[in-house]
Symmetry: C2
Subunit: 104 residues, 2 copies
DNA sequence: CGTGTAAGGAATTCTGACACG
DNA sequence: CGTGTAAGGAATTCTGACACG
C-alpha cells in the first residue's frame, strides 16, 4: 500500500486540506462516504485518498446531491472498476492457457 | 509538491510508523535532522519523507553515529544532489545554445 | 550525548444533544 | 437532511527540567 492510502492524518489537518468543517467530515463518515481508521484512543486517522474523496464529495454536495445519492454513485463506480479488474484477470487466464491465440 | 512531502502527520503517528519514541523524534528535530512544520497551536506536522528520514536516522544511530555526524553526512549527500542538478541545468543551457553539437 | 520520565498546561479530538430549516 | 454550536470529557501534544550515564 502506498503513502496515498495510509491512514495517518487527523481531522483538523483534513479540515484544512479540504476546506470542510470537522462537523461535515464526521457527518460524511456517519453516512459511510468515508471510512477513517482510529487510534487506540479513538482519534480518527484519514488517508490522502480520503482527502481526495472528500473534495469530490464537497463538489457533489454543491451540485445538490444528497449523501445517499453520492454513496450510490460511488458504489456504482467501484463496481465498474471491479468488473474491469475481473475481465482483466480472465483475459490473463486465457492468455496463459492459449499463449499464441489471436487477440479477441 | 506530492503527498510524500506534505506535512500532515502528528508525532504520535510518526512514532508508530518509525518505532521511535516521541522523545527521540523531538530530539532529532532539536538537532536539526528533521524540520517538521507546526499548526497554529504549535503541534508538529511531519511528512512521509520525514518518516523516511527518521528511519534512516534510526539506522545510523544504531551504527553508533552521533547526531552531528548524521547531519554532516546528510548535508554532503544533499550537496551532491545539488551539484548534479546544477550540471544538468548547465547541460540544458548548452544544448539550447548549440542544438546540434556533438555530445560531450 | 541521547533518552526516559513526571509535571503542568494547552491544543486537539470525541460524543451526544439541541437548534434550524 | 445537512450543519452549526455549546458542553464536558478524554486523548494528544507541548515545553522545560531533572536524571542517568
Amino acid at each position: 500500500m502506498s503513502y496515498k492510502h495510509k491512514k495517518v492524518i487527523t481531522i483538523g489537518i483534513v479540515s484544512e486540506l479540504t476546506g470542510l468543517s470537522e462537523r461535515q467530515i464526521r457527518y460524511y463518515e456517519e453516512r459511510r462516504l468515508i471510512e477513517p481508521e482510529r487510534t487506540r484512543g479513538g482519534t480518527r486517522k484519514f488517508s490522502f485518498t480520503d482527502v481526495e474523496k472528500l473534495v469530490e464529495i464537497a463538489n457533489q454536495m454543491e451540485d445538490g446531491l444528497q449523501t445517499a445519492e453520492i454513496r450510490r454513485l460511488e458504489q456504482k463506480a467501484q463496481q465498474q472498476k471491479d468488473a474491469k479488474v475481473r475481465d482483466q484477470m480472465i483475459r490473463g487466464q486465457l492468455n496463459a492457457a492459449f499463449p499464441n491465440r489471436n487477440k479477441s
